[in-house]
């Protein structure tokens, strides 16, 4: 079996795993017991919390890959950093949207100027800027170098987002799972949440692998466009030799 067909088979399994994990997570989300206070509204948690955590993870991968690029100068690290940032922005956008949908019935408003919400929205824009920068620099090496610098500066925001609720004592509920001491959540709900987290993590890996694959194809295409190896129209025509004054024999 060739490497290419082995890769294709692995990717097919990954496609199936992502779809299957999402279905299982959906089942857990729909059939887990409702919350005592929020009732069925709490089911939004099974999308909102995993997506935000996966987004944080995606940006962490971006940082690690960025450091990898800065150390090795290999563009494959840059591709991973960019792809992970792109997928992370999608998950962060999803987390913000689901948070708003959850917030409306619970808080009475779509958006509240809570510290964590606001900083998360800001983080979304920081990474949009990161992606915008990448799109606007055509040279791959310059693009990698400059976005690496911006990526390192941007990642400083992530701990600020997560712990800002404790710093500024705001409306958004304090961390339920990632908090010092025991998690404040019943076991069936926590189980469904962890299944959701696992499923979205697989979806993230799937999207990341597919995005990297697409980026590599893009790079190949750019390289082919930059150095065409097919004969150009009119290439066979050359200037006449006039060294002998253009005399016809």
């Amino acid at each position: 079996m060739t490497d290419a067909s082995s890769d294709a088979k692995t990717l097919r399994w990954l496609d199936l795993a992502a779809a299957g994990a999402l279905l299982v997570a959906l089942g857990f989300a729909l059939f887990s017991p409702p919350d005592v206070i929020q009732g069925d509204l709490t089911r939004m948690m099974y999308i909102h919390v995993p997506t935000i955590l996966v987004a944080y993870g995606a940006f962490a991968v971006t940082t690690v890959a960025t450091i990898g690029y800065l150390i090795t100068k290999s563009l494959k690290w840059d591709t991973i950093a960019a792809s992970s940032a792109e997928v992370g922005v999608v998950f962060l956008g999803l987390a913000i949207a689901t948070g708003m949908i959850w917030g409306k019935p619970v808080w009475g408003v779509w958006w509240t100027w809570d510290a964590r919400l606001t900083t998360t929205a800001i983080m979304f824009f920081i990474y949009l800027g990161y992606l915008g920068l990448r799109r606007s620099i055509p040279d791959p090496v310059a693009r990698a170098q400059r976005s690496a610098i911006l990526g390192i500066v941007a990642v400083v925001q992530i701990p600020i987002v997560h712990f800002s609720v404790q710093w500024w004592n705001a409306l958004h509920q304090a961390p339920t799972i990632l908090r010092p001491g025991d998690p404040q959540i019943d076991s069936p709900l926590l189980g469904a949440l962890l299944v959701g987290l696992f499923a979205f993590a697989i979806v993230y890996v799937w999207l990341l692998v597919r995005r990297v694959q697409l980026a590599n194809l893009d790079a190949e295409l750019e390289a082919r466009d930059a150095a065409p190896d097919v004969p150009m129209a009119g290439e066979a025509v050359s200037a006449p030799d006039l060294s002998d004054g253009g005399a016809v024999s």
């Binding site: 900083t119 920081i126 800027g129 915008g132 920068l133 310059a142 170098q145 610098i149």
Partner: protein, 222 residues
């Protein structure tokens, strides 16, 4: 080879001299910022207690958003030939960063003072504890200048260039905006401001270190 500080001073002088000749900040950006402050009461209503309450925050928002224009003006003005000349002259990239940031910081300070006077006049802002502002204004200017200078270098030669820079700078300037606004509020209500001052100092230091460390790699990609 001249010392780093001499090179930095030369770059600062060059930027200030260019500003003296063009008057871009003094005659365009500062009036633009002042107009923004004058437009707001027309949009929200000329309610003096309300304006007094929102005035300081609006002032800092104007400083951050319009300050970006000052901090990144070099990107749209400097040509590749000018950048090459600086490199060929052997000017240390860290000195170039420091000099540019220093010049931007000074211009931002002038912007803050003039627009601040407009805000005080039009919004009747309470100036309790004003001596602290002598520390806060330069700290905000320094942070924004450093951030703008880094962003300007990152976006040099980018196809969308100057249009992209505010998107990079504005979200990253949030800690400065929060700290500056909270300090003014803290002075008014007589609550602690030290942690916010400390935040500003830390942000400034981080940005200055980042600017110096990244100056050379950024120059190499230009």
């Amino acid at each position: 080879m001249s010392s780093l500080s001499t090179q930095m001073a030369a770059v600062t002088r060059r930027d200030l001299e260019r500003e003296r000749r063009t008057g871009e900040v003094l005659w365009i950006t500062i009036p633009f910022g002042a107009i923004a402050l004058i437009l707001v009461p027309m949009a929200v209503g000329a309610d003096v207690p309300l304006l007094r309450q929102i005035g300081p925050g609006l002032y800092w928002v104007v400083v951050m958003l319009f300050g970006v224009l000052i901090a990144v003006r070099r990107t749209s003005m400097e040509t590749p030939a000018q950048r090459d000349l600086l490199a060929l002259l052997g000017i240390d990239p860290a000195a170039v960063f420091g000099g540019r940031a220093m010049a931007s910081g000074l211009m931002l300070l002038v912007f803050e003072l003039i627009v601040g006077a407009v805000a005080v006049l039009f919004y009747d802002i309470d100036l309790s504890g004003w001596p602290w502002l002598l520390l806060v204004l330069p700290l905000a200017a320094a942070g924004l200048a450093a951030l703008g200078t880094i962003a300007g270098s990152i976006a040099t030669n980018a196809t969308v260039g100057p249009a992209l820079i505010p998107l990079i700078v504005a979200p990253l300037a949030v800690p400065l905006l929060l700290a500056a606004s909270e300090i003014v509020e803290g002075l008014r209500t007589d609550t602690g401001i030290l942690r916010w001052l400390l935040l500003m100092v830390i942000v400034d230091l981080v940005l200055c270190i980042a600017g110096v460390v990244t100056a050379r790699p950024l120059q190499e990609t230009q």
